[in-house]
Point group: C2
Chain length 399, copies 2
């Protein structure tokens, strides 16, 4: 009999996409559905970078270098330099989205059966890439009461075994929006040095930090050069999720050498999108200011509305464009489906991402949801009206 591989069966389905049919059915009924469920920003892709693609002169759309166009990599060094990250162009490998950077890091640093520690809740697709690579994700619980801060280092250390090869930190965090302080990144770096672990830094949202705290990159920490691998992407930075351009950046030559072999097998990253990525380096210095201000207003609105609802708790996230909230509900998967299937308020409803999808530990996150503030403030306000009403009538409410 023809069989599907064990990993193909074990591979997790997207926790967000399983609600899509219910959202489609709600829209067919004529409802407005506010999408707070997915990290697809509504911000315009900068016209200047789309123009760079429109003006492309290239008689043959050839393979690029497997590590990406040298001109792009050289320009990226100036982008990183402004952030206080000193790297040479050959320490940068252009990848097909941040996704591929994560994949190459897993393949290079871990073998089948090896373990990577990740604070939980976590970006769901880490579990997919781990399954693909036969790697075990060991989730280190962080708590909503602490606003999802880094677990104390002694707690972290307790999870390290002979199989542990790396710690992965998403900063600012998806799904929690938590912005790790320099002290926290240094503390985790110290563990990595002591225990000979790689520190993988997923910094997809670094431009979106809202407080006085500056963003700390894994590449900012002195003495951690051999351990730190930056996993980057232009998806959120320039609202160019569909481009599929990311980067793996490290000073560790052996990691680069191994990652390049994986990169050579797939020949090259997308060519047209590299042009777009390269053009983005020339965006004016104030490009992020307006966008950050907009996200900040949205966050403030969303978080204050949530915390004003009875029984709801939402820590104030310091970055990214996500918030995790605890709701007075029995089961977030049921609740999110019910919102789409059985609820409406003035002919509107909302779509949320169930918290369970972001926990590797079964049973956790059952009364949590992730909200992405990627819709405008009027829409957020309307969505919060819906949520407030829904929580008063949901059959599985716990207060």
């Amino acid at each position: 009999m023809l069989t599907i591989s064990q990993r193909g069966i074990a591979m997790p389905a997207s926790p967000i996409r399983k609600l899509v049919p219910f959202a489609e059915a709600a829209k067919k009924k004529g409802l407005t559905v506010y999408h707070l469920n997915i990290g697809q920003p509504d911000i315009e892709t900068p016209p200047a970078i789309m123009d760079a693609v429109r003006n492309v002169q290239m008689p043959v759309l050839e393979y690029s270098h497997s590590a990406g166009n040298e001109s792009y990599r050289r320009k990226l060094t100036t982008y990183y330099k402004k952030l206080g990250i000193e790297v040479d162009y050959d320490e940068i490998m252009i990848t097909t989205g941040g996704s591929e950077a994560i994949r190459f890091a897993f393949l290079t640093c871990l073998d089948e059966g090896d373990e990577v520690l990740i604070p939980e809740p976590l970006y769901a697709n880490y579990l997919g890439f781990a399954c693909e690579a036969g790697v075990r994700v060991v989730a280190v619980p962080s708590s909503i009461e602490d606003g999802f801060a880094l677990p104390p280092t002694d707690v972290f250390a307790r999870y390290i075994t002979d199989k542990t090869k790396a710690i992965l930190i998403c900063n600012p965090n998806n799904p929690t929006g938590y912005l790790y302080s320099r002290e926290e990144i240094e503390a985790i770096g110290k563990i990595c040095k002591e225990r000979h672990l790689y520190l993988l830094g997923d910094e997809a949202y670094r431009e979106f930090c809202y407080g006085d705290t500056d963003h700390t990159s894994v590449l900012h920490i002195a003495g951690l050069e051999e351990h730190a691998i930056l996993l980057d992407t232009i998806s959120k930075r320039y609202s160019a999720c569909g481009a599929r351009i990311g980067a793996l950046v490290t000073k560790n030559k052996k990691v680069l050498e191994s990652a390049l072999k994986f990169a050579q097998a797939r020949l090259s990253p997308p060519g047209l999108a590299q042009i777009l990525g390269e053009a983005a380096i020339d965006l004016p210095a104030d490009y992020f200011d307006t966008i950050k201000e907009e996200y900040l207003q949205r966050r403030n609105l969303l978080v204050s509305r949530l915390n004003s609802m009875e029984g709801v708790f939402c820590p104030n996230p310091g970055g990214a464009f996500y918030a995790m909230a605890r709701l007075p509900i029995d089961d977030c998967d049921k609740f999110c489906q019910w919102l789409l299937e059985a609820f409406s308020y003035h002919n509107q409803t909302l779509m949320l991402a169930p918290g369970t999808g972001f926990y590797a530990t079964p049973g956790l996150g059952k009364n949590e949801v992730r909200l992405a503030y990627v819709i405008n403030q009027t829409a957020i306000s309307n969505a919060m009206d819906c949520l407030e009403t829904a929580l008063k009538v949901y059959p599985g409410r716990t207060i």
Copy 2:
């Protein structure tokens, strides 16, 4: 100590790229280097499909569906229909190049330690993807004397074990250019049915067939619907290697379901390049005629020149734009390096791909080279002058 994974170490480096520094040095010395080493066509990317990208109107470059844009997949059904392949749009998954289609097929059909049979010589990157997925490539030898035809089915059957899950056929073949007949594809299909194996068909070069024999797809064979997985790409078809757009096409719903989970983890295939791919379906029906004629002339020139050289044998390839030739030399790796390092003829030399890089079995292919006829006829003619001269003076010549 920080360690690189075993698979990162085992991952093969590109056999072609290791000669690149020698080619660069030759050029620095002022030599003209004819590149017959790599499958990067010199054919212009059709301006009409580049224009489709130039004219893109898309305020936000969003994630596409993980299986690719529905409009593109619907249009692709018309492309396949013209080839006699009847598929629904939801039996097509757009991938990041043909590379990702191969990767998804390996991950879905095989587990760590499982085996895939592939006629040898073979496309070198299969070995990379297999290493990445922990899959074992079992090479079934084909012979230059038979023009690299499919090994007899009883020979094939001898290589099947309990671990064998799939047979992979590249048709027309890279690196040999061999075009499998309908009888051969049916014979291999019969083994797959009897032994419950997947038949993976890499058909990247299907448009480039030069004889009276029509191309036979794995999806042409009746009764093989559950077994056949077509691995496709626009790279060679439309000279758009840098776009990174391919497809995995199958009627097997379970395979599609599993592959979709791997696709969801990486979110979506490249967005700009999907526009280019979709536009390509509207190219005039005679688009391939001129290009095919050009490749045919080049093949005829290349093969006749090769076979007129003393001690050289090159079977006449029926498709793709590659030929494998046996040369009167001691060691193709040494010879190819020597051509770049120590030889010149009228200030010119040529770059070839050593045959050894296309064999999984150590020691095979030592007196073979692959030649890609992706340069114009004048250049081919000059390159053949160089080769002919080189073979007379190469210190390791065997006649």
